[in-house]
């Protein structure tokens, strides 16, 4: 067969696109509402704080990929042994499954609101698991390429939605800045942590992504773009809904609907929303893809099909059971379990570079 040309599964461009065009979508659905309910007009401040934390995780990932070509598993294995590596991978599997829950439930509720006129049965959401199960059998090369696709699927609808909603917004509603106590912003950071926990999603890509010259600069720009998109969207959202923001679900599906021409031509904004939904689908599947990958690496399973199928049957049952307890799950995550996101998405990526130091010390002692 044709040689693979030793190309990495994910290149710098794709990594940048992941950061700039895939990760922001996580904050376009429920995060604006949660931020507004905790921080009101100051919602940009907690968002910025969360994004800075995420930036640190991304920087740590880039540092790791700069220093080593090894996968995360190999890195841990070299430093701490195979069984520790396996244990960490099992933990990561559990974390990714845990992190996949909220996007999944959000997606379910969003699909009922944006794709139907009347509330459908839960089974209408079931085909999502077919897609997700399929995606989970694919490798990181596909993840990288999906990031390329996101360039088109994200930019065009995002720009369209913002343009359509600009006339309905009152940007003065964001004033005054720092009107709420800083405590509110910190609370908002905690409550929305599950939506700003993308730092952990890059970890398994270590080894599949090879650091290239100038990558840090490019990733920095991509991260800045990601921050800009997020803040811009949040500003638009709050300017459109102002005091109603804390009760507005599914932000990106709604803010363009007040565009005057839509009364004449129909809800064409929904076409843009649907295109963005594809990006959200990719995003919602990403933790599941990583969970499957980590598990298969931990148990040394090459084919992912069986595990992916079993996992998705389980997830479907989970959704069937929990979709009526949506608020309870949300409360559980945002009130009690959010420290886990800090641990895995912010702290862990910052700790992994220590493995390199340890390795050096070991080499030194030898």
């Amino acid at each position: 067969m044709i040689k693979d040309y030793k190309l990495p599964a994910v290149n710098t461009r794709q990594l940048c696109f992941l950061i700039a065009f895939l990760f922001p979508i996580a904050r376009f659905l429920e995060a604006p509402r949660l931020l507004a309910s905790a921080a009101k007009g100051d919602l940009l401040i907690p968002a910025l704080l969360s994004l800075l934390l995420q930036g640190a995780s991304i920087a740590a990932f880039l540092f790791l990929s700069y220093k080593t070509d090894k996968t995360l598993f190999q890195l841990i294995e070299n430093a701490l042994g195979k069984w520790v590596a396996k244990a960490v991978y099992f933990l990561l599997t559990a974390y990714y499954l845990f992190a996949a829950v909220l996007p999944l439930l959000d997606l379910e509720k969003f699909s009922y609101a944006a794709f139907f006129d009347t509330a459908p049965t839960t089974f209408s959401f079931a085909p999502f698991f077919l897609l997700s199960a399929f995606l989970c059998t694919k490798n990181f090369k596909a993840v990288g390429r999906s990031a390329d696709l996101c360039l088109f699927l994200f930019l065009l609808p995002f720009a369209g939605i913002l343009l359509m909603s600009i006339g309905s917004g009152d940007f003065s509603s964001l004033l005054p800045v720092f009107s709420e106590p800083f405590k509110s912003s910190l609370k908002a950071v905690a409550v929305t942590k599950p939506h700003f926990a993308d730092g952990a999603l890059l970890l398994p890509l270590l080894g599949s992504y090879k650091y290239e010259k100038g990558a840090a600069k490019k990733a920095g720009v991509a991260f800045a773009v990601s921050v800009l998109f997020t803040l811009l969207f949040l500003a638009f959202f709050y300017s459109v809904y102002t005091t109603l923001s804390p009760r507005e679900h599914y932000a990106f599906a709604k803010i363009a609907q007040y565009f005057p021409a839509l009364a004449v031509v129909g809800r064409i904004d929904l076409i843009l929303v649907y295109l963005l939904s594809i990006v959200y689908l990719f995003y919602a599947c990403l933790p599941l893809q990583l969970a499957v990958d980590c598990f298969c690496k931990a148990v040394n399973l090459e084919k992912k099909g069986l595990y992916s199928a079993v996992l998705h049957i389980g997830l479907f049952v989970f959704v069937l059971f929990f979709n009526s307890r949506y608020d309870a799950v949300y409360a559980l995550y945002s009130q009690y379990l959010y420290p886990l996101f800090f641990l895995f998405a912010d702290l862990l990526p910052l700790l992994f570079p220590l493995l390199l130091i340890k390795k050096k010390t070991k080499a030194g002692t030898k």
Binding site: D117, T118, S124, Y241, L244, R247, H249, K303, G305
Partner: protein
């Protein structure tokens, strides 16, 4: 069992499992989808089973709400387009709005779909108490857009929606016309949407306004023309149904006089309750300081004559300064031309929108300043925050917000400067 497991494993994980099973997967998925496609009855409510609700009128009654749903009935025999569609008004009652709306299904067999509902009309009774008692449902429901127009009326919303009009086949569409963007731009009405009204209700000032829609009789000449035309609207109150509910029918509609709608007056709300009304002239002034108007008309007496100005452009600006004393500064810059005068002029002055006499400009400025001040005082007396002073206090003078928010409206001074510039 072991064999079965190994078979399952081979199915999913075997060598080239996907390639080998591709046709099987494909057939299974297609068979499943075909089953769904042809059975197609998983609580689906298709276009033929739906009542496309175009407008809703809400009246409050002693024991709950009376909801008038104006439903578009696509008729194969009628002409194409919205105009050819018949409308039926279905009146249902319930302790909550949701309960009343559910009864539409009970009465008609159609499932009410509110996705096309672009107008909510609040009857007088509904506005006497907190209107959010009845609007709550529409804010909660994800299947109705909160971008729909919201209006109030004197009397019953049911009667307003049942009014026959020569303007459109459906009363709702005719009302939408008087609440259009164009009407807003020329200052003919002050339309509001559910979203904006709710945002002001939940805001600091808790003040909001709604256009007051009225059905007015046609002039005798107009009536003569319109009365002869057959309307396909069937909105009227007809037979009594169960529990005193009514549903629209065809009978008797010809006998109803045709009317036209106007929304030139405005109702004011504080804390969700109707506290007052602005006349047509006051509403125009409010529109002038609130929106940027284009091609609006303003008529004023000057000496022995009456002039009508065309306001080409209005640029209002309202500023709040909180020093020792709080002060609102309203600046209104108008660019206007003469549209007409009650007495004939010399030939050069009759050219299209001839020169504005300077004294007239001054008179217009003076009169507008006075009227705006009077309007502000009227609203202040009602407790209505006309210039969003409290909102401005919160945004721009936040350090004084907690101290002044309760007293600002009563304390604030007003300075009005109107500059009218003539344009040919």
């Amino acid at each position: 069992m072991k064999e079965l497991l190994s078979k399952i494993k081979a199915f999913f994980c075997g060598k080239n499992a996907h390639a080998k099973n591709a046709v099987r997967y494909f057939l299974i998925v297609v068979a499943f989808l075909m089953f769904l496609f042809f059975s197609n009855d998983f609580d689906l409510i298709n276009i033929q089973q739906s009542a496309i609700v175009m407008a809703i009128g809400i009246d409050k009654e002693e024991e709950g709400f009376s909801i008038t749903s104006q439903i578009a009935v696509p008729s194969a025999s009628s002409s194409q387009g919205e105009k050819g569609s018949k409308t039926v008004n279905v009146v249902t009652k319930g302790k909550t709005v949701a309960q009343a709306l559910e009864k539409v299904n009970e009465k008609t067999g159609w499932y009410p779909k509110l996705v096309f509902c672009r107008l909510l009309v609040l009857g007088e009774s509904a506005t006497q108490e907190n209107v959010f008692d009845c609007l709550e449902y529409f804010l909660r429901d994800e299947y109705i857009t909160d971008g729909c127009l919201l209006a109030a009326c004197d009397g019953k919303a049911e009667e307003l929606l049942s009014t026959q009009t020569p303007i459109d086949a459906s009363g709702a569409l005719a009302i939408e016309k008087v609440l259009s963007n164009h009407a807003e731009r020329v200052g003919a009405s002050l339309p509001n949407t559910l979203r904006l009204f709710a945002a002001s209700y939940f805001g600091e000032a808790k003040s909001g306004f709604l256009p007051l829609v009225k059905a007015e009789p046609l002039s005798p000449q107009e009536q003569g023309q319109g009365g002869g035309s057959e309307s396909s609207s069937s909105g009227q109150t007809g037979q009594s149904g169960q529990n005193g509910e009514k549903s629209g029918g065809q009978s008797g509609q010809e006998s109803q006089p045709e009317k036209v709608f106007s929304a030139s007056e405005t109702t004011l709300f504080v804390d969700g309750k109707r506290i007052g009304k602005l006349s047509k002239e006051e509403s125009f002034l409010y529109a002038l300081v609130k929106n940027q108007l284009r091609l609006a008309s303003y008529t004023l007496p000057y000496g022995q004559e009456t002039y009508t100005m065309t306001i080409k452009r209005s640029s209002p600006s309202v500023k709040l300064e909180v020093g020792k004393e709080a002060k609102l500064t309203v600046e209104l810059a108008l660019t206007a031309g003469v549209a007409d005068a009650s007495q004939a002029k010399d030939l050069p002055d009759t050219a299209d929108e001839g020169d504005f006499p300077k004294p007239l400009l001054q008179e217009a400025s003076k009169k507008l300043e006075e009227d705006i001040r009077a309007l502000f005082e009227k609203c202040r007396a009602l407790g209505f925050d006309l210039f969003d002073a409290i909102d401005k206090l919160q945004k721009y003078e936040n350090e004084h917000f907690e101290d002044k928010k309760d007293t600002l409206l009563q304390e604030v001074g007003l300075s009005v400067k109107v500059a009218v510039r003539g344009i040919r």
